[in-house]
């Protein structure tokens, strides 16, 4: 008789089991097969995600040199964090970045979704056009926008000149640069959130809208009393995902790395970028890990608050 065990054993060699092994009950065979199926991924996730996560918590207490030598330094890295003005600066930059990006993605994502959720000619083409920036790599996005944002002769400045505005240094003025980066980030990400919102909108039963029309509700009333409340689960997902990616998403790193290197005057030095700089430019791995665990702590707290406020993201339609 063929058992479940001989086949998955191709993945994990377990010669003792199988046909010749002791007869197992069906439920036991099923469980064993399941563990073997999960094993490769579970091992990988444990080694390359969970272990670094735990490792980063303890790494903060060590000084690590370039050759992998560890020296216990107690709280030194954490103390340094408290007095490092550049770290404080990067926290502030991250705060502003998150505060602008999360609402901006919500509004643009939902706005675009509402726009392309109605029948109109070429609506599929428009959806694709709004989404297409998202499939291009962030390096390409960063390079392209960097050329377009060049002082004086760049495409964007030419465009502004046309409207009689000129002289902006989009990536050179410390007061503007973070917002230029934010604009590019929204341009890159909004199509993704549009699709998420679109699937949320399409799940709202048509009857609600029919009923609202019969009751004589205007578009504004319909939007605020039907669409928004029924979109709550989607909204929760969007807020959570955009928040996490604003704090620690790869777009936060890639765009800064290519376009500004944290400058000018550290005005775009997001925590995620500063951590990378400390680790791989100045070889301060321990200090970088201390800052990373602090970031994780903040992320956990904010996620927890979001869950608490929204009661676990579980909403009841009322």
């Amino acid at each position: 008789m063929r058992t479940s065990l001989d086949a998955p054993s191709k993945v994990e060699k377990r010669p003792a089991m199988g046909r010749s092994g002791p007869r197992l009950k069906r439920s036991q065979r099923e469980a064993l097969a399941a563990y073997l199926f999960i094993l490769p991924d579970a091992l990988g996730l444990a080694i390359f995600v969970a272990l670094p996560m735990l490792f980063s918590l303890s790494l903060g207490f060590f000084s690590v040199n370039g050759f992998g030598g560890f020296r216990f330094v107690g709280l030194a890295n954490y103390q340094r964090m408290l007095i490092d003005p550049l770290f404080r600066q990067s926290l502030w930059v991250t705060f502003v970045y998150v505060l602008v990006l999360v609402p901006a993605l919500y509004v643009t994502g939902l706005g675009l979704a509402l726009l392309v959720n109605r029948p109109m000619p070429f609506v599929g083409v428009f959806r694709s056009m709004f989404f297409v920036p998202n499939v291009v790599s962030l390096v390409v996005v960063a390079l392209t926008w960097q050329v377009m944002l060049v002082d004086k002769v760049g495409f964007i400045n030419r465009l502004f000149e046309f409207f009689g505005l000129s002289g902006y240094s989009w990536l050179g003025d410390p007061n503007i640069t973070l917002y230029s980066i934010l604009f590019v980030t929204v341009w890159f990400l909004m199509g993704y959130y549009m699709i998420i919102f679109l699937s949320g909108l399409q799940e709202i039963p048509r009857e609600y809208y029919d009923a609202a029309r019969i009751d004589g509700a205007g578009p504004a009333a319909t939007f605020f009393q039907i669409t928004l409340p029924l979109l709550r689960p989607t909204s929760f997902f969007v807020l959570l995902v955009s928040l996490v990616s604003a704090v620690a998403g790869s777009q936060a790193f890639d765009l800064i790395y290519i376009m500004t290197r944290g400058g000018p005057a550290n005005s775009t030095s997001l925590v995620i970028f500063y951590i990378y700089q400390q680790a791989f430019q100045f070889n301060n791995y321990g200090y970088a890990a201390a800052m990373a665990s602090f970031l994780v702590l903040i992320l956990l707290i904010v996620t927890f608050i979001l869950f608490a406020v929204t009661k676990g993201g579980r909403f009841h339609f009322t």
Binding site: L45, R118, M120, F126, F130, V139, I195, I196, L198
Partner: protein, 286 residues
Amino acid sequence: MTEPTAQIQAGGPSRNVFRRLGPILLFCFTAVLAVLTVSPLLWMICASLKPGDETFSPNMLPQHWTLENFQYVFTASPFWRYMLNSFFVAGTITVIALWFHSMAGFALARLKFPGRELIFLIIFSTFLVSLPVIIVPLFILVRQMGMVNSYAGLIIPAIFNAFGIFLLRQFYIAIPQELQEAAVIDGASYFRIYWSVMLPLSRPILAALAVFFFLANWNAFIWPLTITNDRNLWVVQIAIASFHQQYSSSWNYIMAGSAIVALPTLLLFFIFQRQLVESIKTSGLK
């Protein structure tokens, strides 16, 4: 941009005019916005086809079309090698990830075993851990394993992510129980059920995820940047980022490199956009 719907169809004395004009205005607005959205990409492609002295001319379209920038990219650097590296790395990650994730997803969805919910919860919780947060300890770990500057270092850590497992599990849960029962009665092993029943059924979602994984890994930057400095192992993203440092004023070459790197992703998107969009939709609370 926020909600043009509300403004345009608002009631009032001119309601009838808006009734008729509304959809047309909305169409025009959407069309203009869509064209503006793609214009940076069009601009990049145009800039890659212009000679260097035209990069900053106010015209979007080239006055003298040229392929010289592309020739330069391929002769001044081993760009083919970088592209092969990217194809190899992204392709390998995609294949292995699909295999591992489909097995895990199948077990989590269709097999009963002690600790199933807990294991799923733990796997799911790694969803929130993003690479930039763990990059320092991950690098140290992978360095201890001797995988710096190797294909293994580029590939292995990138295989594992909870997103694919989660999506496949959701898919397998929806498959009717009868198909599996029939196979069990026929005496099929669990691996056979996975291989001959579940995998063929999940072809559409596997295709969608394949596109998704390939794109994500072709576009990946921070990990290859961290784990390789040997030029022979460079992937395309690192290559064009370094062009940027080498020829910081020759934007025409950089745009040509960018166009080459973006082209496969754009092609994949146009061919598989339905699958891609479906997999994104599924990721949003379902």
